[in-house]
Every structure is written in C-alpha cells, then in structure tokens.
C-alpha cells in the first residue's frame, strides 16, 4: 500500500468509538524487543543496523496481521510525512529522526505499527480507540509471539527481554492511555491527580510522550516499571487507576455544572468565539480551545452530531497534517492563518453553546413574575 494512502486516511483509533471514549482518547501498548548477537541500534554501525533491518523487515511483513501493510524505509519518507506519522502516534519522535538503517511497517487500519531500529531493534505498538488496553495488549502480544518464532529475541532468564535502556527491561512493555481531562484542569485538581498517579508508580506525560508539554488538556498515563510484574498485572493496575481518573473527571464535570455553570459556559463560549472568528491561530492555542469545544460536546452544549468534526480538528490542525493537505511547506505565519481558516470553515454551522437543560426547560414560573403580568 502506498504511503499517501496511509497518510490520507485516518486510523481506526481516530474514529473515537471505543469504550469511555469521551475521556479516554486512545489506548496504546508497545513492546520493545532486540535480537541476540547484534549490538543495540544506538551502539551499532550502519552496516550492522542494515543487516538487522534486512533480517527483521521480511519477518514483520510476512505476519498475517500485516497482509495489507505499508512498509517503508526511513530514508524514503520526507520530513513532513514522518511528522504526520508522529502526530498520529504511529512512530515516535525519536524514530522520525532516523534515516538509513531504520524502517516502519504499519497495517492498513493503523492499529499496528512496528518500528525497526528505533532505540531497540523492534518497537511494536498496538493502538485502539477509547479505553481498550487489554485488547491492544492481546493484539500486540500475538504479533510478538509470531515474531518470536521467526526471530531470536534477546531474553535473559532473570531479567526477561533485554532492552537498550534498563528502564524497559523485563516485559519491555509500555502501556498508555491518552486522557482528556479538561474539568480536572479547570477546577485545578489535575496536579493532585498527577501526584497521586506518580505515587503508585505510574507516569503522566504530555501529548507526544516523554518530556512533552500537556496541550489541549490531554495527558498520557503509562506504566513506569517493566520488571517484576506480569504484563497482565501491569495492565490491570493501570486500568484501575485510569478508571479512577475517569471517575474524578466526571465528578469534576458534574461539580462545575452545578457550582460554576457560568464559568463553564464562559470558557466554552469564549473558545467557540475565538475558534469561529480568529484569522491566525497557533497549534497550541487551537488544541487548548478545541479541548473546551470537546468538553462542550460531552456535556451536551453542542449537538452530538458535531463530535466527529471537533475530534477531527484536533489532528487536522497539527502542523504536519495542515501542510499535508496543502502539499507544500508553509511558514509559521501562513500555517497559523491556514489553521484558523480551516477551523472557521469546519465550525461554520456549529450553533452557539447552550446548556443542555436550557432549551427544553419550561419558562421560569416564579410567583413574582406572574404578579407583574
């Protein structure tokens, strides 16, 4: 399958139809594996990386899951194409920096992506919409078992799967969920939640993983430790914490609606106004404002039919996606203008936000009012 087919169709997980998808955008599970007898990519010579690649790539391509896959060498991807893949979480930022000696294989549905020669020889990932960590793990676990029959993975009787970085040794697994937590941010409770999550040995990161900023009220929750626990135990633990966070976010939303309805409507209304009428918008601002729009849809301030439009804008306004549609590289100013114009166009028909209960509510029947009539 040619790369532009992948780039022009959005992945299954972007459809946002998984369980709990109002709050959990996506679930990902990745496994790190290495081959015996070859230095890890970071310490390997170019020729060694190429021979590892030529050993792994055919094995990956022959998987039944990869029957309709797109497989591409890193040097054959343009910087813009790589960035599009990063924005879709199909490759890591680190992998995007690789050239000769690396490759990525993705299936058509974009639920599986296998990076060859990233930090480890193999970084395999499954991504699903909503809270579906278990099914994502199942998917990638099967791929791992199939590949393990064909390739000689570095495995230590005590330490398990060996990885370049000792923080990944053991299961080599990082499971994560991307969560949208606007109400916890608005009610200033998110730092407490982050601290609590850190205390139980889980990590909270920004939109694009390690060291990135939290934009658009999006947070990635993932396991920190990989050794000493079974994969299923790690996922169960993570799931429990995520369910707790969902509960807190829902509570925060209910509290805002009850106690601060004006602040809530004001935030959503301002986001609506700026998005509808601005002519230049940076991607960070767009994400932050779109987050309020998404919250508005969740709370019924906007018609449910608008959900898809809003969700799509989250990804379509990212820098590389923006330029992909214009097929040319743009200056920052041009990008911001284009972004604003796309958003204006998409939201043209979006009605102004109104609290759900307001429309069908009966007119206030206060005795005083009647007396005046």
């Amino acid at each position: 399958m040619p790369i532009h087919t992948i780039l022009s169709t959005s992945g299954e997980w972007l459809r946002g139809d998984g369980p709990q998808s109002h709050i959990v955008v996506s679930s990902r599970v990745r496994l790190a594996r290495n081959l015996n007898g070859f230095p890890f990519p970071g310490h390997a010579k170019k020729t060694e990386r190429v021979s590892v690649l030529e050993c792994i790539k055919p094995a990956v391509e022959s998987l039944p899951e990869m029957a309709d896959a797109h497989s591409v060498y890193s040097q054959d991807l343009s910087a813009l194409e790589k960035q599009v893949l990063v924005e879709r979480h199909l490759i890591s930022r680190e992998h995007a920096a690789k050239g000769l000696g690396s490759a990525v294989v993705m299936n058509k549905k974009q639920t599986l992506s296998i990076m060859i020669n990233e930090e480890d020889h193999l970084r395999m990932q499954a991504i699903r919409s909503g809270l579906q960590l278990k099914s994502a793990f199942k998917l990638i676990d099967k791929v791992d078992s199939e590949l393990g029959d064909k390739l000689d993975f570095a495995f230590h009787n005590q330490y398990g799967f060996l990885t370049a970085c000792p923080t990944n040794v053991g299961t080599g697994m990082r499971a994560s969920a991307m969560m949208h937590l606007p109400a916890l941010v608005l009610s200033e409770q998110v730092n407490q939640v982050i601290q609590a999550v850190n205390k139980v040995g889980l990590a909270v990161r920004g939109l694009y993983g390690e060291g990135t900023e939290a934009m658009g009220n999006l947070f990635q929750i993932s396991n920190q430790t990989t050794l000493g626990e079974k994969e299923e135990e790690i996922i169960t633990r993570l799931n429990k914490v995520i369910e707790q966070i969902i509960l807190h976010e829902n509570n925060a939303r209910a509290t805002l609606q009850q106690k601060k309805p004006v602040t809530l409507l004001d935030n959503i209304g301002r986001a609506y106004g700026i998005l509808r009428y601005s002519h230049s918008m940076a991607s960070k601002e767009a994400l932050n404002l779109l987050s309020y729009l998404k919250l508005g849809v969740d709370l019924g301030f906007f018609p449910e039919e608008c959900r898809m439009q809003v969700d799509e804008l989250f990804i379509e306004t990212q820098p590389a996606h923006l330029q992909k549609s214009t097929a040319q590289k743009l200056q920052a100013e041009e990008r911001d203008a284009l972004r604003a114009s796309i958003i204006r166009g998409r939201l043209e028909k979006l009605p102004a936000p109104a609290p759900k209960s307001a429309a069908p509510q009966e007119p206030p029947a206060k005795p005083d009012d009647k007396a005046k009539d």
Partner: protein
Amino acid sequence: MNCDVCKQKPATVFLTQIVDGKMQKVNLCEACSKEKGVTDPTGFALADLLLGLGASQEMEKSTVGARCPACGFSHADFKKTGRFGCAACYDTFADGLENMLKGMHKGLEHRGKVPPRLLKAKLRDEEMKKLQRELRKAVADEKYEAAAELRDRIRNLENEAHTAS
C-alpha cells in the same frame, strides 16, 4: 554479598576488569578495597553510578573498568547515554546492575512472558537453581542420601540442557 577477600564484611566495591579478553569480577568491602590499593575513584565510576551514590558526577570519564567483550561498550559509554550496547552488556555490567534496577522496577525477577521456544530452558534453569539450593541444605544438614539423589537429578538436568543446546 560478602567481600571476596575477608569474606566477612558486606562488599561495597565491585570491580570488573578485562585482562587479555578475560573478564574478572571482584567484590570488595570498604576496608579491603583500601588495603588492596583500589582507591583511584575514577576506577569506580560504574559502581558509583549504578549504586546511585551520586559521586559519579564528579568523576572523570574512566578508562579503566569494564568493557563488554561482545560489543566493546564501556561503562563510560553507559554513563553518557544511560543505554547498554548489546544484550551481553547485561552480564558484563551485572555487578551493580541489580542495585540500579531495584530503584527502577517493582522486582528483580522477570515474571512476565517468556518466548515459547525459551520456556523450557527457563523452567529447567529455575528447577536447577532450586535443586542446588536443596542440595546445599541437605549437605549442611548431613542428609547424604537425599543429597546424592539431588545430585543425580541435577546431573540429569545438565545432560538435558546439553542435548537441547
């Protein structure tokens, strides 16, 4: 783990050296390391780093110390990148690794998935360790009949492992 020299005090200094391509490991306690003249702090960058003593920051890049026989990775490389060079590095830098992993993970023993084709070998390895522990205990308790039986079982496992590989 006790000191290799006095065999009494706990070892706090772990030294790995490669001489003529052969790897040697020595574990020393504080007193013995001084006595043996192993006082050059730059010789212990790895140990310090892995043990998280923080002293490694002050240290210069070390030229002595471990180098992975398989990939040539040195502990200075590890200090710089925080990554290992190859799978064999996990054995080369085994000393001190446990302490580092202890700080990072929930345990020191992999309890998750084992690649199906290695499962047998792993189970055999665990069984072997268990039998060896029992053997030591039987000898210590002077239960020689049981010890002989354990010895035979260990031999059988060893033969099995040989034919499998």
